[in-house]
């Protein structure tokens, strides 16, 4: 299709000539790179969760905590308080997370038109990073395809306290394998393009709710 083959060799040739004097063992020089930045958090789980709640409230996300056994009720309360009725659920979302009294659209390949009809979405999350108030989605079965947490205007996320880390490097340490897909949410969609005035909710859910499941005590 493209003449890229020749271009590829030419570019790589130019690069090779430009870096001729470099050390030929990238693995060794990579391993030797010094990393003196903070790589481990210092606080316990209670403070981590408190920090994450603080950060998320700073960007107007709604956060509640719950004991593991009360999770289904807490979800039901959040859904009821939203005034919304139809929710998308990832295929792998636990059944106990889908209380009765609401319409559930399980995503087994929903079209965008169908997703557009929903009022909100409920998903799990892989991890939380307290320092930046970041929710990490690896889009597993319980987190769902990327589109379902993007199109609806309201997103409820369930995160275990034991899955909260303090610092970004700790998140990477947790990833035994790099994810193929990942979305990092650290605030609702926002823009500051007009006179640096921060406006929320350009694209993506304008309402973000998080339930912390306190499955671990300090």
């Amino acid at each position: 299709m493209s003449s890229s083959g020749g271009s590829r060799e030419e570019i790589l040739g130019r690069i090779r000539r430009a870096t001729e004097s470099a050390v030929p063992d990238p693995a060794a020089s990579y391993a030797a790179l010094q990393r003196y930045y903070v790589r481990v958090g210092r606080v316990g789980v209670d403070e981590r969760v408190a920090l994450m709640i603080e950060r998320m409230r700073e960007y107007d996300a709604e956060v509640v905590e719950t004991a593991p056994e009360s999770l289904p009720e807490t979800i039901a309360a959040q859904l009821a308080a939203s005034g919304r009725h139809t929710f998308v659920a990832p295929e792998g979302l636990p059944a106990t997370w889908m209380p009765a009294g609401f319409e559930w659209m399980i995503d087994r390949g929903l079209s965008t038109g169908e997703i557009e009809k929903a009022d909100g979405v409920v998903t799990a999350a892989f991890c939380g990073i307290a320092d930046s108030g970041t929710i990490v989605l690896h889009h597993s079965a319980a987190e769902g395809r990327r589109v379902i947490s993007l199109l609806p205007d309201w997103h409820l996320c369930v995160l275990r306290a034991s899955d909260v880390v303090e610092t970004l490097p700790e998140y990477f340490a947790r990833c035994t394998k790099a994810p193929g897909l990942a979305t990092y949410i650290s605030g609702p969609s926002a823009t500051a393009d007009i006179e640096m005035t921060r406006i929320k909710g350009v694209h993506g859910p304008r309402f973000l709710h998080l339930i912390f499941v306190r499955d671990e005590r300090a």
């Binding site: 570019i11 870096t19 990238p26 790179l33 003196y36 930045y37 589109v147």
Partner: protein, 497 residues
């Protein structure tokens, strides 16, 4: 109700030229732009806001300098092994279902992208903001092929609809204020009822774009990072238009400079920490997305990466200049630059403005154009202080000045350049203390002509006029320091005065 002053100053009134081949020299461009006080106010406000937020977060980050050091070392390492990491990226991305293309220059990159669009039978494309696509002037080429290209970043829409050009790499429409945005949206979106409330304007953009996201099957993006280890691409954004373009269309084309690669997924732990703080003054930007090739059932099922050289491999080969390629396009340098603060980005005549533009653009142009950009700096060093990957921009500026001067040494015009001649003469004078003393005496004598009764010079000819246009100059004292010292040590001279 038209205001002739505002109209003349509104964005796009005189279309800025961001083609370094055609743009006027920096001093000339700056001269006109400096009279646009609205623009200067907007630029100062925007950069103050971001800088303030950035400084606050950097102060609270105890390991900020360690992160900078690690980021700098990592980027240096990548550049030293660029071929290795690009090949690794290509292999992994291809294994994951992506198609990797290599473009030697802008022409080739445009051709590759247009060919893909032709095969897709695309009539429209949606775009995520990417300076790289502006660098290769992609949109005009797409339009010329009869395809409509829709920008989806709020700033880019403002610029596209306003027929304007970006003036900052992170906040491209920072030179435009709300009144100007209202005018553009009202006219081009046919929404005359819009007020200039930013919330309402943003809402207008949201509706304007939503139908495009749901309809257009082909998207073009840039990349913040390419991950060699996994063949993944990372995009960092605030609005969510990136996420829309990354998940809804059928085909995704990512255009990325070859320097965007980083070795491993884990290296994002450095880059993401420094990028958001430097670019927008946040601990983390609202949305970051990572994807690898094609994922069945989730997102675009056809994925292309176009790796762009366009002069980068040449910069790579230059010892002092190679660090230019460490850049992660955070924009912190332009936010802190006191020159950029006064002129905004358009004066640089390139999509890359501010300190990074002053070193990158001339190099991409092989110093055949944009030769005034390395001089568009007072060498204050503020940019180096804030650069998250420690690019020593002042060092490169000085080196590029030497290269530009070396070119001038071969040219006839140097004999007519008072600055050039002045420098040669000055060097001649500095080479001998006797000559220097003589020059001091002659200068003192000659400048007496221009020295007024208050002992100051208010007006000088030639290059001197460039000083006296806004500053007085004190007349040369009747005794230089060395004359005073000589008199002091001489027999009968006063010691210890």
């Amino acid at each position: 109700m038209s205001n002739p002053v505002l109209e003349g100053q509104s964005a796009g009134a005189s279309h800025p030229i961001l083609d370094p081949v055609k743009a006027p020299p920096f001093p000339e461009a700056a001269f006109t732009i400096l009279r646009n006080t609205q623009l200067r106010k907007n630029v100062a406000h925007a950069t103050d806001v971001i800088q303030g937020k950035r400084n606050k977060l950097v102060e609270e980050k105890a390991d900020w300098q360690e992160l900078r050091a690690a980021g700098s070392a990592l980027r240096n390492h990548v550049l030293e092994n660029l071929g290795h990491y690009l090949e690794q990226f290509e292999e992994r991305c291809t294994a994951a279902g992506g198609v990797v293309h290599w473009a030697r220059d802008a022409d080739e990159a445009r051709a590759i992208i247009l060919e893909i669009l032709r095969q897709e039978q695309a009539t429209e494309v949606i775009k995520i903001k990417t300076m790289t696509s502006a660098e290769i002037q992609l949109n005009p080429a797409i339009e010329a092929a009869g395809i409509k290209a829709f920008e989806t970043d709020l700033a880019e829409i403002i610029l596209q609809l306003g027929e304007d050009e970006p003036s900052h790499i992170v906040v491209p429409a920072l030179h435009v204020n709300r009144t100007q945005v209202r005018e553009i949206f009202a006219r081009r979106m046919n929404r005359p009822e819009l007020t200039d409330d930013p919330t309402e304007l943003t809402g207008a953009a949201r509706s304007f774009l939503r139908e495009k996201f749901l309809r257009v099957p082909t998207a073009i993006s840039g990349a913040n990072f390419l991950i060699a280890e996994t063949g993944s691409v990372v995009i960092v954004e605030s609005e969510g238009n990136g996420r829309m373009c990354l998940t809804l269309p059928r085909t995704m084309i990512t255009l990325a400079g070859i320097e965007k690669v980083i070795p491993r997924f884990q290296d994002l732990e450095i880059m993401l920490q420094v990028l958001a703080r430097s670019a927008t003054g946040e601990r983390m930007n609202p949305y970051s997305s990572l994807w690898t090739g094609v994922t069945p059932g989730d997102g675009p099922q056809r994925f292309h990466v176009v790796l762009l050289d366009n002069g980068r491999s040449e910069i790579l080969g230059k010892e002092r200049e190679r660090q230019t390629l460490k850049c992660i396009r955070c924009g912190a340098c332009m936010n802190t630059c006191p020159v950029y603060r006064q002129t905004g980005g358009h004066a640089y005549g390139s999509v890359y403005a501010g300190p990074i533009g002053a070193i990158l653009t001339p190099q991409l142009m092989r110093l055949e154009h944009a030769q005034t950009l390395p001089y568009a700096s007072s060498l204050c060093g503020a940019c180096y202080d804030v650069c998250p990957v420690k690019i020593n921009i002042p060092e490169i500026l000085i080196d590029l000045r030497a290269k530009v001067t070396d070119k001038e040494r071969e040219e006839e015009r140097r004999f007519f350049d008072p600055m050039y001649l002045g420098m040669i003469v000055a060097n001649f004078l500095f080479a001998s203390p006797r000559r220097f003393r003589l020059a001091q005496r002659m200068g003192r004598f000659g400048l007496r002509l221009f020295t007024r009764k208050d002992g100051w010079i208010h007006s000088l000819p030639s290059i001197g006029a460039r000083w006296t246009m806004t500053r007085d100059l004190r007349g040369l004292p009747r005794e230089t320091f060395r004359e005073w010292w000589a008199g002091r040590a001489a027999p009968g001279g006063k010691r210890g005065r």
